[in-house]
Symmetry: C2
Subunit: 358 residues, 2 copies
């Protein structure tokens, strides 16, 4: 790869280094010098330097300041030496950008002023134009310049998860209104997730056009659905998002927590890399996902609260289960938690690198 | 069965009718006149008559008043015509009964004043004596007299779930302290769940001795664990509970939400009936559980918020998936939600009875 000249690949030397990174190689199921590591929510409250720069700045506002987004996105790369950065944003940012009245309340999550419940409400969900999110283009540009050989993962929420916030008006544990629409008004539901797939695809395209070299589509709450419902009501919209970015050839990662029953379908939707939470061992996950896809995961995040020896033992179990995979990106099975010791995360990156050095 | 005389079985006519009920027959995988139905949390806030009798009475106190427990337990039997009653209690009642300082905070859940974190803390977890819960014996006695041919299901929380409340000090979404102890101090953990298994077994024995004709052990939050962890850290303690009540010969039901990966192990722990949430179709669940066990479940509770036709269609899907089971108890895949329309539940009972009448 690296011996190919810039002329042949059309890539600059920096782009070539990114393309040849352990992270992107693993996503493409190519041999790697070591198993790449990154953490969902690696840029966030677990880091004192994050808490410092966020002080007094509301979450949504922080997503709209390119310098701040750049700083926050870079922090875990500097500190932990992770193999990829993930664009600091929130899944509701594209909805805010098209004018939906919402906010992110500390300790609660996204809160939507007027929930989407009727056909008339759909009118508010107009397509996203790149000019709606200039701060994203700017931040991604700054980031790729700063990151050098470290790839940047673009970030978006999947239609089901976005729909759940819009319909419930905020976070939910039961998704009762969401499911009531899904089951009771399936045509309205289909139109809603169709509109969301257009918005989400545009949000990812902006990030890729600006320089992101992979994307992760978070269907955080899809695990609330049984496979038949996921296939019927959710998968078509997620597939549209993946299709819409296929032309760029960047790896497309897909993740939701508690999706053990859905792993095969989430791959089928168009993911190149399927993220797995800690409940399904990676060798079993590989059977469900089938060949031709890499897997990402899946150390139980709560293990990080145990002593170092326990973390290492559990990490060894994950690496053993991953031994036969076509491609493996090491990650936690869910996001970093605010109370986690950053040093434990740094050590985990080093430990995985050492244990998998080839 | 019914032609056998009281002398042969040692049962009164009333006990004979209970023994021959659709619910207990299904649990024993015998032919049934119709698929029996009950709902987890059927006695609760969805019923106006419940909200009325609970008015001004804190949750824990209500569990300690035999007349009130009897009334609340009977309400859904009267209203919905369900095939079984479940003893109204809370999983922390036996902990309160042995002197643990805890309360159930409305909108929060159980809150433990001094979390259990050290070996010294274990001393507080003394065995439960029947004399600690006279109100349970009394209420079960009153209930079986009132219930006639309708079986009463005894109720207890499983060691893991109880441990999680004791260690976290309240409800948790991540179980970080629980897992930190499990992974970091496995001997302390083992002693804790051993003590809890003794308490839980005693709590179930009290209910069976007083007349409960089945028991359900709720490991509500076990779904937070991967199978290897469940097998190592949780299953032995749950198995002890099941063993301790085996001599009574009453069906033992086991349930936790999000336990798709654990269904086989939860059966292996000693359950006669494995409860399944809505994420795993019952025919697939049967493969995981294996032969010789009945299944309970598994309509997505959120479906109840959709129009009646959608509820019926989804119910038909559950019944179709259950067609080949050795024994099937119809239930929701999780508890009744407070905002549910009681009439929708009553209709669901009738609908299942009609569709499965033989």
């Amino acid at each position: 790869m690296s011996e190919r000249s810039q002329q042949q690949t059309g890539r600059t030397a920096a782009q070539e280094a990114v393309h040849d990174s352990a992270f992107l190689r693993a996503c493409r199921r190519e041999p790697v010098p070591h198993t790449p590591v990154w953490f969902m929510r690696q840029a966030g409250r677990s880091l004192p330097e994050y808490r410092k720069v966020r002080e007094g700045i509301p979450m949504l506002e922080s997503c709209m300041r390119p310098e701040l987004v750049t700083e926050i996105t870079l922090q875990p790369v500097r500190r932990h030496g992770v193999d990829a950065a993930i664009f600091f944003s929130d899944i509701v940012v594209p909805l805010k950008a098209i004018g939906i009245d919402l906010d992110i309340k500390p300790g609660v999550g996204p809160v939507v002023a007027d929930p989407v419940r009727t056909r008339a409400d759909l009118e508010r969900l107009r397509p996203l134009d790149p000019s709606d999110v200039p701060y994203v283009t700017e931040a991604v540009g700054m980031l790729t310049a700063e990151l050098g050989a470290t790839p940047l993962i673009g970030f978006a929420g999947a239609p089901f998860t976005l729909a759940s916030y819009l319909i419930e008006g905020g976070p939910s544990r039961t998704y009762e209104n969401t499911k009531a629409m899904m089951y009771g008004a399936p045509e309205l539901w289909a139109e809603l997730v169709e509109r969301l797939s257009v918005i989400t695809a545009a949000f990812l395209r902006v990030q890729i056009e600006a320089g992101a070299s992979a994307v992760q589509l978070f269907d955080s709450w899809a695990g609330a659905l049984a496979p038949a419902e996921y296939r019927r009501y959710v998968m078509p919209a997620s597939a549209k998002v993946f299709d819409a970015v296929a032309e760029y050839g960047v790896p497309r990662i897909h993740f939701g927590v508690g999706t053990g029953e859905l792993l095969g379908l989430m791959g089928e939707a168009g993911a190149d890399v399927v993220g797995v939470d800690w409940r399904v061992p990676l060798d079993e996950a590989a059977k469900r996902v089938g060949p031709g896809k890499a897997l990402q995961g899946n150390l139980d995040p709560a293990v990080l609260f145990a002593p170092r020896e326990a973390v290492e033992a559990k990490t060894d179990e994950v690496l053993a289960a991953a031994a036969g995979l076509e491609g493996h990106v090491f990650n936690l099975g869910h996001g970093v938690m605010p109370a986690m010791d950053p040093d434990a995360l740094t050590h985990l990156v080093q430990y995985v690198h050492e244990r998998t050095a080839r």
